[in-house]
């Protein structure tokens, strides 16, 4: 589905990525044949439930998966023309925290509790930029002020900050070296809504200023609606639907995406009943035959258990992986 031309123009291109985890005698297929492209300055959302493999995708890009138990089975990741999976560890280190950096989900555990926050930010700067200790601390203060924390607080320790402020420190650290690509793993999940709104605004503002590209991992469709340009819906390690935000929100097509929207209580309506997806996400060590969503799918037919659908283009690069698409769109069997 991608031509060589697109590969060259893409800023980040993940192709056919598969990651598995091995434990004793089980193999867990965490990520299966994931491909997507990200353009410069855009935000790409990865949406899915716990255990869908979203974080594994991000960690594979940054190559920080613990190996073993993880193993990148196949795939290529092109970033600014370079193939990341083939790089030496030494070269990768130069990229990590510099051209690509990551905001981790839980700000409470992402910071070193016995290091002053200023020192933690300065450390990243000193590693990647040729500068003195004093200069690096100055840069750290500048970063803190950019995220709205008074510079003099750089001498404080993480426990002296509230949750929202810790997340700002983590963001300041991630942005300290002006990364070209930012991987944000549930950056606002641990925060209250009013603080979430502040942090999202800030990330969007900084992104605009520096033309940073971003991968936003989240399970919150509201966050996607506000922050992303393109969206991929991930289920059991596979992309089941991919498209622009407009395509996914106005014309969700995959039964799983439809189910996600049906599960959300709508704040603007008085609907009395939710339409949850029946059943549970599959055990990733024992994925069902055929389409991995078919045991929970209200539209499933017998063919669904036999073969896995390919990602089909519904027009304008809106991709969806379902063999019963036509029936569903015709308004076939309803849940």
């Amino acid at each position: 589905m991608q031509t060589t031309k697109q590969k060259e123009t893409s800023f980040l291109s993940v192709k056919n990525l598969s990651v598995e985890y091995t434990s004793d005698d089980e193999v867990i297929h965490a990520v299966n044949h994931v491909s997507f492209d990200l353009q410069k300055g855009k935000t790409f959302g990865l949406v899915g439930e716990t255990g869908a493999g979203k974080t594994t995708i991000a960690k594979a890009i940054l190559r920080i998966l613990p190996q073993p138990p993880a193993r990148i089975k196949s795939g290529e990741i092109f970033f600014e023309g370079e193939e990341l999976l083939g790089l030496t560890e030494e070269k990768m280190r130069k990229i990590r925290g510099n051209r690509i950096s990551m905001i981790f989900q839980d700000p409470m555990t992402a910071l070193n509790p016995i290091m002053r926050v200023g020192t933690q930010i300065a450390e990243a700067v000193r590693l990647h930029e040729n500068c003195s200790r004093v200069q690096s601390v100055e840069k750290a203060i500048e970063m803190l002020e950019m995220v709205g924390i008074p510079g003099e607080r750089q001498r404080e320790f993480p426990h002296q900050f509230s949750g929202g402020m810790k997340q700002r420190v983590v963001i300041a650290m991630a942005l300290a070296c002006n990364p070209h690509l930012l991987l944000a793993d549930e950056p606002t999940t641990a925060l209250d809504v009013t603080i979430q709104a502040q942090v999202l605004d800030m990330i969007n503002e900084l992104k605009r200023k520096n033309n940073t590209s971003m991968i936003m991992i989240t399970h919150d469709l509201g966050v996607v609606a506000q922050a992303c340009d393109d969206v991929a819906v991930v289920y059991a390690g596979e992309i089941v639907e991919l498209g622009t935000k407009e395509q996914i929100f106005t014309a969700p097509s995959h039964p799983y995406t439809l189910g996600l929207f049906g599960s959300l209580p709508d704040i603007h309506s008085d609907s009395q009943r939710l339409y949850p997806i029946e059943g549970l996400p599959p055990d990733p060590s024992n994925l069902p035959q055929g389409c991995s969503f078919h045991p929970r799918c209200p539209y499933a037919t017998r063919a669904c258990g036999d073969r896995q659908a390919a990602l089909a283009d519904l027009g304008d690069r809106h991709l969806c992986r379902c063999i019963n698409l036509e029936q569903i769109q015709k308004g076939g069997k309803k849940p």
């Binding site: 439930e49 716990t50 509230s162 949750g163 929202g164 402020m165 209250d192 809504v193 009013t194 603080i195 979430q196 709104a197 502040q198 999202l200 605004d201 399970h219 919150d220 469709l221 509201g222 966050v223 609606a225 506000q226 935000k245 407009e246 929100f249 106005t250 189910g259 996600l260 929207f261 049906g262 599960s263 959300l264 209580p265 709508d266 704040i267 603007h268 008085d270 609907s271 009395q272 009943r273 939710l274 339409y275 949850p276 997806i277 029946e278 549970l280 996400p281």
Partner: protein, 318 residues
């Protein structure tokens, strides 16, 4: 009929830095068979409120009237009786179940303690019935919590809370640890149970869309105080308190074509230790004025719509 009435309830904690006003002068009533949603950000005292009502914490002052009876101060024997009528479902299904008890043991424990079932076979029938009621397969009777997923664990927690046929259940963020698809299943279950057994819920949560979905009435809490309370629909369509307005505007909407205007709030929630008199939201409020530093009274600005804001009338042109 009013099932629960809370009057001027206070719960203070002494800390080395001073007195922490976790719940400060909270009053409300819940009608039988209805759901009261309590929303607020972390640290606003909503969980403490729930726990104080069912006597997991002793109140500092105020009155709790349940089913026409003052239960604020009770002896141990009476407490036992109250507990059979008021139960709680906890937030974290991973932490609130005993990891060394099977599903059956967990659900049966309240029944054993109450001494309602003398015969073992009766007890087994009853636990089986409860498991059916909340939708856990009977074959999982002997499973331990670590063998269950989050949604099922929360169902076990609900079965345990329901085992003594209580009238009133405090649901303390029962779905916030669950994925959206599972969250919807549990919310539907809670609604079905309410319809079937005429249960009364106090639903504590930080998730505004969940609270709108499940509640009949809503209280918004800020730093230990209720700043606004009204019927659910009205609160969402016509909020009156500046905090409620900002809170509602902060929810990321899934409607991509109608980006609503956000009311940005400066700063973060302040400390509830030794709070100054006056409006606690004033420091972050875009409409704060001098009057705000005096104690605020709760006014009924519209029928059944209570607001604690001295500028409420003027700002909403009522």
């Amino acid at each position: 009929m009013t099932l629960l009435e809370v009057k001027n309830l206070k719960k203070y904690f002494e800390t080395p830095k001073g007195t922490l006003h976790a719940v400060d002068d909270v009053s409300f009533t819940i009608e039988k068979g209805k759901t009261l949603g309590v929303v607020g950000e972390s640290g606003c005292g909503k969980s403490t409120l729930g726990r104080t009502i069912i006597h997991l914490l002793e109140s500092s002052s105020g009155q709790i009237i349940f089913d026409g009876e003052d239960i604020t101060h009770v002896n141990k024997k009476k407490l036992h009786q109250i507990n059979e009528n008021m139960q709680i479902v906890f937030q974290d299904p991973y932490a609130s179940l005993n990891p060394r008890q099977t599903v059956e043991e967990t659900v049966a424990e309240p029944l054993l303690i109450s001494g309602r079932f003398r015969k073992k076979s009766d007890l087994e029938d009853e636990t089986g019935r409860l498991m059916d009621l909340v939708g856990i397969d009977r074959r999982l009777r002997l499973a331990y919590p670590h063998e269950l997923d989050g949604g099922r664990r929360q169902r076990v927690g609900i079965a345990r809370a329901l085992s003594l046929n209580p009238q009133f259940i405090v649901c303390d963020e029962p779905v916030s640890a669950l994925d959206v698809s599972i969250q919807a299943q549990v919310l539907n279950l809670l609604q079905d149970l309410q319809a079937k057994q005429d249960l009364t819920y106090m639903f504590v949560t930080h998730d505004l869309s969940v609270v709108r979905h499940i509640s009949h009435d809503i209280c918004v809490m800020y730093l230990g105080q209720i700043v606004e309370s009204s019927p659910s629909k009205e609160l969402f369509t016509a909020p009156l308190h500046p905090y409620t307005k900002a809170l509602l505007s902060a929810i990321p909407s899934t409607d991509i074509y109608a980006p609503h205007k956000r009311i940005p709030l400066k700063g973060e929630i302040t400390s509830p230790i030794n709070p100054k008199p006056g409006c606690r939201f004033a420091l972050r409020c875009p409409h704060a004025c001098e009057k705000c530093s005096t104690p605020q009274t709760v006014e009924e600005l519209l029928p059944n719509h209570f607001v604690a804001c001295c500028r409420g009338k003027e700002l909403n042109q009522l």
